[in-house]
């Protein structure tokens, strides 16, 4: 029971942090290191809004929209102009962008640890056992909803189809009358907004500190590799595999080996399926990057 609860919470945090990152990998074909700092930006802008007196729900939505706009702006100003130079240039640009966000947030918010001023809560009981707090339940619901919405959006809406088309073959998509530029802006907005939202949740569960973005990007990268680079569904599955793998593993080994366990899972999966979890349904065969 505990394992299911703990795993579900961890998986939701990882999923929400990684899914925006994976979306950009899929469409733009590079690892956007600045995504970790979007979490930082989301957490701190959420805190700013909530300190202005906003309720936490509108504050987190506001933070997500703000991060989405910043992401779209970054795409327009930084990434689009260098896109022709290849993925390596994009990668390094994103590292630079990460430091810009990190520096600006640090300069404004200061280096001290901060926290949301929320009422203290106890975990709700299920069959007499503490189950989840309202915040943890919210993150699980939001994560599952996000995964579902993203799937429906990509599979059934024209905008979603255009995203998939651009991700698969940009030139062909253009020839079919899809505007790759508009699609890219949309992707960056959605991905960054999801990152911002994940940041707010991280802040609510623990505290806000400047290194939270760097800490999380490592987990995000690991999840993406496990899921199979470029596969959105692979990453969603990977979040659950890592989270539950760790929780089950902790029955046998001490908790200090948490990170070790995570990477053990990744190593084993990649040994068996070098393309990551996406290989389970045949993805990743034709990927060139």
């Amino acid at each position: 029971m505990d394992i299911i609860t703990f795993g579900l919470i961890s998986a939701s945090v990882i999923l929400l942090s990684s899914v925006g990152f994976a979306l950009i990998v899929q469409v733009e074909g590079f690892l956007n290191i600045a995504h970790g700092q979007m979490l930082l930006l989301g957490a701190y802008s959420g805190l700013f809004l909530s300190n202005l007196g906003l309720h936490i729900i509108p504050a987190s939505i506001g933070a997500a929209i703000f991060c989405g706009l910043v992401g779209a702006l970054f795409y327009g100003l930084l990434f689009r102009p260098v896109k022709a130079k290849g993925v390596l240039v994009l990668l390094f640009t994103s590292v630079g962008a990460a430091y810009v966000i990190y520096g600006v947030v640090g300069a404004i918010a200061g280096k001290r640890m901060l926290a949301f001023d929320l009422p203290l809560v106890r975990a709700m009981k299920l069959f007499g056992q503490p189950f989840m707090t309202i915040y943890e339940l919210a993150i699980v619901i939001v994560a599952i909803a996000v995964a579902l919405c993203l799937h429906l959006f990509l599979a059934y809406t024209p905008a979603g189809k255009s995203i998939r088309a651009v991700a698969d073959n940009e030139d062909l998509a253009r020839a079919r009358g899809i505007d790759p530029l508009r699609t890219s802006y949309l992707v960056w907005f959605v991905a960054s907004a999801l990152g911002g939202l994940a940041g707010v949740f991280l802040g609510i569960m623990g505290s806000l500190h400047l290194s939270m973005g760097w800490q999380q990007i490592i987990i995000i990268l690991a999840t993406t590799v496990l899921g199979g680079i470029g596969s959105l569904y692979g990453v969603m599955l990977a979040a659950f595999v890592i989270a539950f793998g760790i929780e089950i593993g902790l029955i046998f080994v001490p908790a200090s080996y948490r990170s070790g366990l995570a990477f053990l899972i990744i190593v084993v999966v990649l040994l068996v399926k070098p393309q990551g979890l996406q290989a389970l349904w045949g993805g990743g065969r034709d990927r060139t990057h």
Partner: protein, 419 residues
């Protein structure tokens, strides 16, 4: 990743440089004749020590301003140059090299545990005294002293371990705890020294749990701690892991008392978990004995300068003392080189000689041809042969219902057994 870190460092460097210049400006205005004497402050303005470093910086500013107001060292003005070490080993090497080669400081004050251990060879090779004011590491227990150019003005972890154990056993009669330790060098060393002392003095550690750093959820670890049904949990963990752990423990309905190490003794921690949850958490910190003149003098001057009282456990007094003692060593030697400081630091801080509590008094006594014993704001500051000091008293702090760290009691710890 190295390239990334470098950019970061350069940015910090520019920032700190600018701050340093701005801070140095007023002291130049008070300048006496002659080439300025440069003193370096090398602390973790960014990184893990970030929450504490500004307090150390303030203490350094206060000391330097005081020295300049009293006529400078040997009639020469003093310039403070602050440098960030990113709270890391390589940051310390880079910062020290910059301070010595570019700025030409004759002493480096402030590096924390890991940084100062990394600078041991550097200090001796370059004849630049390096004085830690907050580094507890046991590696310095017998590494310093005259000739090694390594000193520290705060107590060692090995002594703090005894303090934790004695306070738990004697003051609150707690002879069973669960030990929760984060897998970091500093917290592990603190937990290890505590465990040794506590078990030797008759306490029992019913369970020991190690936390992996940087996790969002510690729910399985909490369940593990709960299985031992502890009354009190000893937390040797950093700030972010500590917040997550304590917050989630409250949410799951665990009502444990917390005994924490210096890492969590900050208003930030209380603020992040909520006053109601943090209330009751205890931490002993080293302290000057109650009513000591040197402490009151320092505390008043600090408050007048910065508008807030120095906080127990924030090492401001230790840093202030290091600067004053170095200045007095230079005065006693009649020169301002690193060698002169190394040769005279233990002499001017006693024991033996006329007891002085300020730079001005010390200079006056030296001019009168007397031996001096500088009594610090933090304690007696009597260095032993390995450049270590003992702490006169321990202050037991507890988080009150409204979330303030308040002093419960001050205990004379001068007779505590060594570890």
């Amino acid at each position: 990743m190295t390239a990334i870190l470098k950019t970061n460092r350069r940015r910090c460097l520019a920032l700190i440089g600018a701050v340093g210049l701005a801070l140095a400006a007023p002291s130049v205005a008070l300048a006496q004749d002659g080439e300025p004497v440069k003193m370096g402050l090398l602390v973790g303005l960014s990184g893990d020590m970030g929450p504490w470093a500004p307090a150390l910086n303030n203490a350094a500013i206060l000391a330097v301003e005081e020295i300049n107001a009293d006529g400078g060292i040997l009639g020469r003005p003093v310039t403070l140059i602050a440098e960030d070490n990113n709270s890391t080993v390589d940051g310390a090497m880079r910062g020290a090299t910059k301070l010595v080669s570019v700025d030409g400081v004759s002493v480096i004050i402030g590096p924390e545990s890991d940084p100062i251990v990394a600078l041991r060879g550097y200090a001796k090779d370059n004849k630049i005294p390096v004085i830690s004011t907050s580094g507890g590491t046991e590696a310095l227990d017998d590494a310093g002293g005259t000739g090694t150019y390594i000193y520290r003005t705060n107590a060692s972890d090995s002594f703090l371990g005894v303090v934790h154990a004695k306070m738990l056993l004697d003051e609150i009669k707690q002879d069973e705890v669960v030990l929760v330790v984060e897998n970091l060098e500093g917290t592990k060393s603190g937990a290890e020294t505590f465990k040794r002392a506590y078990e030797r003095l008759g306490g029992t550690i019913t369970k020991e749990i190690t936390l992996a750093p940087g996790q969002t959820s510690y729910l399985s670890e909490l369940a593990d701690v709960a299985s031992a049904e502890p009354e009190m949990v000893f937390l040797a963990v950093g700030q972010t892991a500590g917040v997550n752990f304590v917050k989630q423990a409250y949410q799951r309905g665990y009502e444990w008392d917390y005994w924490v190490t210096a890492e969590l003794q900050s208003p930030d921690f209380v603020n992040a978990v909520g006053a109601e949850v943090a209330a009751g958490a205890m931490n002993p910190v080293s302290s000057q004995v109650e009513g000591a003149k040197s402490w009151e003098r320092f505390s008043d001057a600090y408050e007048a300068r910065f508008g807030e009282k120095p906080e127990p456990g924030f090492y401001q007094a230790e840093t202030y003392d290091a600067f004053i003692a170095v200045a007095l060593a230079m005065e006693a030697a009649g020169e301002t080189t690193g060698e002169a400081v190394d040769a005279n630091l233990i002499k001017v801080s006693g024991p033996g000689g006329k007891s002085v509590i300020s730079f001005a008094d010390g200079v006056a006594a030296l001019k009168a041809g007397e031996e001096i014993d500088y009594e610090g704001a933090s304690g007696k500051l009597d260095f032993d042969e390995h450049g270590n000091v003992t702490i006169p008293a321990t202050r037991l702090l507890k988080v009150s219902e409204d979330g303030e760290w308040e002093t419960v009691t001050i205990v004379d710890s001068s007779a505590f057994p060594a570890n």
